[in-house]
């Protein structure tokens, strides 16, 4: 028999007859059978002792959010069908739950970039408002007023952050460009006939253009460099 390898400085070696391996650990690393009553010393461990409860809790919260959301929608659907089958108000609940799940899992729990969180909030809030408006008879308050101003608020927020973080501003460029592009959405909605009030749409598009020009003037060469990198293909 050839000599088995030992971990440095560890003298006691146990063997598992079932798995046919040697180990310095007190239980078999493969079948978990107890091999020795003497626990391995902390400094001899090959890997750290993990706090797995914390991981389980985090996984559970994320899973429970989704399951809870689905259950809430199903209960509402049931009540809706029994009490008021001619008016499906359950869609209001569904879209609100969608927004809450995005907010909890992405905006609150995830380690995503702050710029990405703002962009995700603007997009999911836009979807939420469009559905609510559409469901309530399409009086167009969302596309006419709220969506353009949510987008303006998003652009403004990212611009303020860029001014505040100064040296780290390049990390927000992509998200700002995304928001600037989104700024033209209300105008598209107006010309496609979905919105019928022009001035908020013009405001959003103008604000986008102004922000882009401001970045060009303030950021100058480095902004142009960033644009070159962001649009390379």
């Amino acid at each position: 028999m050839l000599q088995q390898f030992q971990m440095d400085g560890v003298s006691s070696v146990n063997s598992c007859e079932d798995c046919e391996i040697y180990t310095n650990e007190s239980t078999c690393p493969i079948c978990h059978q107890l091999l020795s009553d003497t626990d391995i010393k902390t400094e001899d461990r090959a890997y750290p002792v993990y706090n797995q409860r914390q991981y389980k809790l985090r996984a559970q919260i994320s899973r429970m959010t989704v399951i809870g959301g689905i259950i809430a929608i199903l209960i509402c659907l049931l009540i809706n069908m029994i009490v008021m089958p001619h008016f499906l108000w359950v869609f209001y609940v569904a879209v609100a739950v969608f927004y809450l799940v995005v907010s909890l899992n992405h905006t609150i729990l995830s380690a995503a970039h702050l710029g990405g969180k703002i962009t995700a909030q603007v997009v999911s809030l836009t979807v939420l408002l469009l559905v609510i408006d559409g469901m309530s008879g399409s009086v167009q308050w969302s596309v006419n007023y709220v969506v353009p101003f949510v987008i303006i608020a998003g652009i403004l927020l990212i611009s303020i952050i860029i001014i505040k973080v100064r040296l780290k501003w390049t990390g927000y460029v992509s998200f700002l460009l995304m928001m600037i592009a989104l700024g033209f959405l209300p105008l598209i909605l107006y010309f496609s006939g979905l919105a019928n009030v022009l001035w908020p749409s013009i405001s959003a598009a103008s604000f986008s253009i102004a922000t882009f020009l401001a970045m060009l003037l303030i950021g100058n060469a480095s902004f142009m460099t960033q644009l070159g990198r962001r649009f390379h293909f």
């Binding site: 046919e20 310095n24 690393p29 890997y47 750290p48 380690a111 390049t170 992509s174």
Partner: protein, 424 residues
């Protein structure tokens, strides 16, 4: 912030497909005979990280492709507390896509695969360890041919995308491969989700001699044994599919003279259609033949051309990432991942300067499991000690048990094993 790099051809795929269940983070580590001093390790890292500019980066978002930009923050060493190959939390890691960990006598480097491959990471960990030993005033010295010296200036060739350099044709008509669907491992996800690691240490010289006596290489023998172990387990489960395919990353640096520290590898699928009547010798023969065929320069050249042709396609280039990445993810899962049962990555016999050898106990590589390949295997040899590391995201470890058992029974060699105990 002046320096930036396009993500290399292979790196783009890892960047597109990574998610919570596919971290695309792998680990290369080196275990010394003495406990690691974190302060000295940090000093060594401060020097070495400048030698590897393509690892000293953060990812930035682009419209058509994301890209890598020099990261001016400090890359800090951390004590290992998490399971290996956990997704890299960019916020906690100063936006670096690499982390340097220490635990006991081990220095571990975990890298997001978009930056480099196993060969590049091994070079980094070797240089880091060398610098660490130098700062500890140990008697070590090295030549440029043995490792990338910490104080040498980085060379342009080390940062190149070698796929582009070595592609001879960039307009291959049908860039898709036609590998058949292979048997896939399934199981209950670990609770909590994470990665369980089981490592076995074996005498490499003795195992190599045994493999040679069987008419194959060490890689050929390990691949054949894996196929046999999977087949035996598959039979126990009464699964129907017969083709067992081991995906094997092949470093292209052996055939194409590249010194790039970025991704430069190809994947060869070694498959055997198994049944109970096939003797193990025939499995070895088939695997060895395929290994010779699929690591041949002409075969690898065709792979490079196909790969570069695919990524040079104008339609792929002009589509924005938010459309392109989901499509790439779908193609990766449905075409790439379905053609393999497991990945086996052999870093080979890692060459260290003679003066470093007395300080080094072992080296290992840990691969990240994916949804369709929930158990993977990485092997590395140093100082005649082979470390075989299985990483899994599912509860069932019967294949691993069977593999080590068969290894002991066939070769008569002793296996010493350890585990990180995750999910148990």
């Amino acid at each position: 912030m002046d320096q930036w790099y396009k993500i290399d051809n292979t790196g783009k795929i890892f960047h597109a497909v990574s998610n919570a269940s596919n971290s695309a983070v792998f680990r290369v580590s080196i275990t010394l005979h003495e406990t690691i001093d974190p302060k000295i390790l940090q000093e060594a890292l401060d020097i070495v990280v400048l030698r590897f500019p393509t690892l000293n980066v953060r990812v930035r978002k682009g419209l058509f492709w994301d890209f890598l930009e020099q990261n001016d923050q400090v890359l800090k060493v951390k004590e290992e507390t998490d399971y290996p190959c956990a997704p890299i939390d960019r916020k906690e890691n100063n936006a670096f896509l690499i982390r340097v960990l220490y635990f006991g006598k081990r220095i571990a480097v975990e890298v997001f695969h978009s930056l480099t491959d196993g060969g590049g990471a091994a070079e980094f960990v070797k240089t880091l360890t060398y610098q660490y030993l130098k700062l500890k005033e140990e008697n070590v010295s090295a030549e440029e041919t043995e490792l990338m010296l910490p104080n040498a200036p980085p060379k342009t060739e080390e940062t190149e995308d070698s796929f582009l350099k070595y592609a001879t044709v960039t307009n291959v008509k049908n860039p898709a491969t036609n590998d058949k669907k292979a048997y896939q491992l399934k199981g209950t996800q670990l609770n909590p989700p994470g990665i369980n690691v089981i490592q076995g240490f074996v005498d490499a010289a003795a195992l190599n001699s045994y493999a040679k006596a069987q008419g194959t290489s060490l890689t050929g023998f390990l691949t054949s044994l894996l196929i046999k172990s999977i087949h035996m387990e598959k039979r126990r489960r009464k699964a129907e599919a017969d083709l067992i395919t081991i995906a094997m990353p092949v470093s292209l640096r052996r055939h194409f003279p590249s010194v790039s520290v970025r991704n430069f590898f190809s994947v060869s699928n070694i498959g055997v259609t198994m049944n109970d009547q096939i003797p193990f010798d025939d499995v070895i023969r088939s695997v060895t033949e395929q290994l010779i065929e699929k690591t041949d320069k002409a075969f690898l050249q065709a792979g490079i051309n196909r790969f570069v042709s695919f990524q040079s396609h104008i339609w792929l280039r002009i589509v924005p990432v938010f459309i392109k990445y989901p499509v790439m993810r779908f193609a990766f899962n449905q075409l790439g991942e379905r053609a393999k049962t497991m990945t086996l990555s052999n870093l080979g016999n890692i060459k260290l300067p003679d003066s470093m050898k007395p300080y080094v106990d072992s080296m290992d590589v840990i691969l990240y499991p994916t949804n369709k390949s929930p158990i993977n295997c990485g092997t590395a040899t140093v100082n005649d000690k082979l470390t075989i590391t299985f990483s899994r995201s599912i509860e069932d470890n019967e294949i691993i048990k069977r593999f080590f058992k068969e290894l002991t029974r066939m070769t008569g060699l002793d296996v010493t094993a350890v585990s990180n105990g995750w999910g148990e």
